[in-house]
Symmetry: C2
Subunit: 110 residues, 2 copies
């Protein structure tokens, strides 16, 4: 959120905090969630770049379409193990995974 925007909201009586404050998450919890979301986002991007459907990727992973959908949606029932396994299954290297974790999720639109 831009500084100016925040100021304006607060002037208007809003109590403005970032998502972390709002949910009462610690730094660790937040970093963990960010990591998961970044990986989830990366799975979708990489799968699409490979021109695979969720069902096709699922087959390649020995999983199911619904689980791939949950993965990409960042569903809390999906583990980091599955996310990272999926990326490697999509041909990602350790360098790729490192970059994803470092840089976080891409913005949805410009």
């Amino acid at each position: 959120m831009k500084r100016g925007t925040r100021d304006r909201l607060e002037a208007a009586g809003w109590r403005v905090g970032d998502v972390q404050e709002f949910l009462g998450l610690t730094d660790e919890e937040w970093a963990f969630i960010e990591t998961k979301l970044a990986l989830a986002d990366a799975v979708r991007r990489r799968r699409q770049r490979c021109r695979l459907t969720q069902a096709e990727l699922a087959k390649r992973l020995g999983s199911s379409q619904s689980r791939v959908a949950k993965m990409e949606a960042g569903d809390p029932s999906v583990s980091l193990d599955l996310l990272i396994r999926s990326l490697y299954g999509l041909g990602a290297t350790k360098e790729d995974v490192a970059r994803i974790i470092r840089q976080g999720a891409r913005r949805s639109a410009a």
Copy 2:
């Protein structure tokens, strides 16, 4: 393994393959295992740098000493989730985690 060493072993009748070939792992499986081992190694290093015992770290994580020991040993019963959670719990940043995954485990001695 150095090229010369390998040649000599093969000349002596050894069938020489790297660990990956030996276990029959795919590239993905291997990358995943390397990732886990790198994180396991990093947890131990970081815990020791923080001068914490396994029991102390366990308490901080809401886990147990035995699980921390298994984590650091790279036990297959430990998930990536717990490893990464532990690193964040030890104060690691996303950049730190990315570096660990990128660079892999440190050599045990120089």
